[in-house]
Amino acid sequence: MPRPGFVLEVDRSTPPILFWRGENFSLEKLPAGRSRVIYPPEPLKAIDDIDSAITHALLNPIDQDPLPALLLPGMRLTICFDDVSLPLPKMQQPDTRQRVIEAVLDMAAEAGVDDVHIIAALGLHRRMHEYEMRHALGDRIYDAFHPRGMLYQHDAEDHDNLAVLGTTDHGEVLEINKRAAESDLVVYVNINSVPMDGGWKSICTGLASYRCLSHHHNGETLQNTRSMSGHRKHSALHTSIWRMGQVLQENGPKLFQIETTLNTDMFPKPFDFIAKREWEWTGRDRATYLATTKSLNRTPLRIARKIFHNIEAPHQMTSIQAGETEAVHALTLEHVYRQQLVPVEGQTDILTMGIPYVCPYNPDSVMNPILVMCMGLGYLFNMYRNKPLVRQGGVIIMTHPTYRDFHPVHHPSYIDFFEQVLPDTTDPVVMGHKWERQYAEDEWYRHLYRTGNAYHGVHPFYAWYWGAHGQQHAGKVIIVGGDAPTVRRLGFTPASTMDDAFEIATDVVGRAPTITHLHVPSLLVADVS
């Protein structure tokens, strides 16, 4: 039986705690008597027979007819799937998407459906490389569909292939992929790593146009998104998307939503020590830690990145549910919370977190400075329900080298964002009004997004907006071990060591602040009372 999440009160016998530092780690001693560490629940047991579970879900959907009953000869069937922004790390093959889509295709074939398109629901993410598509879908699907032009990636800038389905009562235009909009049935295959994903967000962002996304992916909305992991009504982002979902339901194609959850078994040996509780480290774990960190210190960054991005996680499916979108998503959230929820009492003055080498926007790529902000203030800070782990005006301390390094193919507009926008402003609302349009309309970015493997021109804005609430909530943000000029350009304060960071933090929170450390990995949702 996996152990539930746990809040450790740090005392003098508590060993140093593991912090990610990009492509490396450190052990940090937290002050005794006023620090606590939030440990995630241990990974749930995976489903024993995943293929049978998939079949069962497709044949016994929630508030929806069984999938075979929806499949008719001559129909236009579109299967959409989440891109490789998740899960992280990528999962060992066969990927959930491959298993589910193969099952859907088998049923479609049995029903005589031959007009089938498979679309990667990228939104404004970068197009996947062939090796990534093959990893997610398997060679069988790729080789059968891609050469015939029936497996492709959504293009939010292909205006000839976008369709407006309607407008919400707030004036938000729902514009999505035309093939999906005009299909007789859309099957969406999701992997739900975090509570913010899934539901109407799958189609309303993954298949949307820039115009459609800009209604909710903006500074104002994200500043008013006070919970990404908890109640939807606290999220202006999700409220907007759910309004669009109603338009989709009323004017769009018939939908069949398939959502899956994974356990949090994220790192195989020899990196499995990362997820362990430090006082339970064996001698072997300590030796592995020492050997790993010392080796990584001597390893060129490019090689270290390669090592980490090549990790394939052993995480496996813990649930699959299919059918009507909202009903399915409600059940999905229950499963996500079952794996990730940790009850936590009250807020503290400081929140510390180690930032890893990866976030949803740099699979097989560089964790550039904007993504460090996004991962820290956008993702990790938001891993709470009810209220943040750190009090309003408190201090957030992150550890990451924050090198000024960008992947020129994947993140071209991020470089310009760093060089042009951040020196001007770090305010998400101001930058949105002043600069976003220029990046949206830049023909070079459009070209690279549509034909290369680049994130859309506005994506660095979106990454920045993601941290808007955290940025507004924190009185100060400190990055330990980061390149100082780069950290300052983000609007944060650099510190050389954790002790220095605590000293700097005293300006804001006084001399004996309370501290919460969010133990990463793995994923958790702190249910803060």
């Binding site: 060089e419 042009q420 023909e443 070079w444 070209h447």
Partner: protein, 399 residues
């Protein structure tokens, strides 16, 4: 009189060249520049005047000379030993305060000017620079016959003398010569950008010359969008103050130009780029960079003094880029077709824009080691222009 003099001593030139990478101060001490006692130069003939130096700037070309980096190209265009110093403000025997247009042109050397009212730098044949009644020398400060500004006095021809108003300080006036160089480079963009609605000109480097070029662009190239690559914070501030629209670090310049011109980046070149670029650095890397972000059929104005460089010119060939040198100044053709002397424009500019802010420090001639070391590291040390002050030292008040 005591003067700083450069002699052609190959061993010292080699030593200076070697040491300059490690310690500019040591390069000066061991190099070809020496404090010597010499006789004041004789007046070469009628129309020549004795100039008493007030301030004399240290230019990049001076540094190249004393650090042994100057190209062998100049061997036949200068005459050793010479006293450097061509950025000069001083006074004549009759008390008039003047700045010197240092090029030793046709009139100074006893030749017919190439056209009526020509400036010293005008003309399409440089034979006069190495012939005539003076020793060879492209300018005062590189000619054995005239001496130069790094001495208490030197001689200058009437054609080189510009009287300055009383309202102009010596500190402004010593910047007139570099200002003229910068304005000349700025005006060399006109054949490409003149008449365009919102042309883009990039400036790489924001030392004295880069800053003067920015000022020249802003004043004399209407409607231009100026994008500057400046390395140091004080250079970035001054570039903005003198009229740059966008100022970035040099390694960010290509992308800033791309954004401003809506270009694509194809490999390491922009598909389009700046209409013109002024290279105030003039190294292999800077020239290659400028060629990369200047648009096809655009112009790169090479304002910094290069020596031997290694550059892949395939892009220049394919893009039909013009690579144009910008040595000095003379008579300019303005956008409206009118003709102006660059030095007149420079005097106006230096005064109206308060160029004394570009003069960071002055040294006495005796402290030349420190002065040149400071000039060689000006950017890193937060400075722009370093000059020698040869005015009488202020008398100490007695107790």
């Amino acid at each position: 009189m005591k003067a700083l003099q450069v002699d052609k001593k190959l061993a010292k030139l080699g030593m200076a060249r070697m040491l300059s990478a490690i310690s500019p101060a040591a390069a000066v001490r061991m190099g070809p520049l020496e404090m010597v006692t010499i006789d004041p130069p004789a007046l070469p003939g009628p129309g020549w005047y004795r100039v008493h130096t007030h301030l004399a700037g240290i230019c990049g070309s001076d540094l190249a000379t004393v650090e042994g980096h100057a190209s062998a190209y100049f061997d036949d265009w200068v005459s050793f030993p010479f006293v450097p110093g061509h950025e000069v403000v001083g006074h004549l025997d009759d008390g008039r305060r003047v700045v010197i247009e240092p090029v030793l042109g046709h009139a100074a050397r006893g030749f017919e000017p190439p056209f009526e009212g020509a400036a010293p730098g005008d003309g399409n044949d440089y034979a006069h620079l190495a012939t005539g009644h003076l020793e060879p020398g492209i300018q005062i400060g590189f000619c054995n016959s005239t001496c130069g500004g790094w001495a208490p006095q030197f001689v200058a021809h009437d054609s080189q003398i510009h009287e300055i108003p009383d309202t102009m300080s010596d500190e402004q006036a010593v910047l007139v010569e570099p200002a003229a160089g910068g304005i000349h480079a700025a005006l060399l963009t006109l054949p490409i950008v003149g008449g365009a609605e919102r042309p883009v000109v990039a400036v790489l480097g924001a030392g004295t010359m880069g800053l003067c070029a920015i000022a020249g662009l802003r004043r004399y190239v209407p409607g231009v969008q100026i994008i500057v690559g400046a390395r140091y914070p004080h250079q970035q501030s001054l570039a903005t103050a003198l009229g740059a629209d966008t100022v970035v670090k040099p390694d960010e310049l290509a992308r800033a130009v791309r954004r401003a011109t809506s270009s694509h980046m194809v490999g390491d070149h922009l598909s389009g780029g700046a209409d013109a670029t002024i290279d105030a650095v003039a190294t292999s890397d800077s020239i290659a960079d400028c060629l990369r972000f200047t648009r096809p059929r655009g112009r790169v104005v090479l304002m910094g003094m290069p020596a031997q460089v290694s550059v892949d010119l395939t892009g220049l060939w394919h893009r039909e880029t013009q690579l144009v040198g910008a040595y000095t100044y003379g008579t300019e053709t303005m956008l409206d077709g009118s003709r102006r002397r660059t030095f007149d424009l420079a005097i106006e500019t230096a005064q109206q824009l308060g160029f004394e802010r570009l003069l960071s420090a002055t040294y006495r001639l005796d402290d030349h080691d420190d002065a040149i070391a400071h000039a060689a590291a000006a950017g890193r040390r937060g400075a722009v222009k370093i000059a020698f002050d040869l005015r009488p030292a202020p008398k100490k008040e007695s107790a």
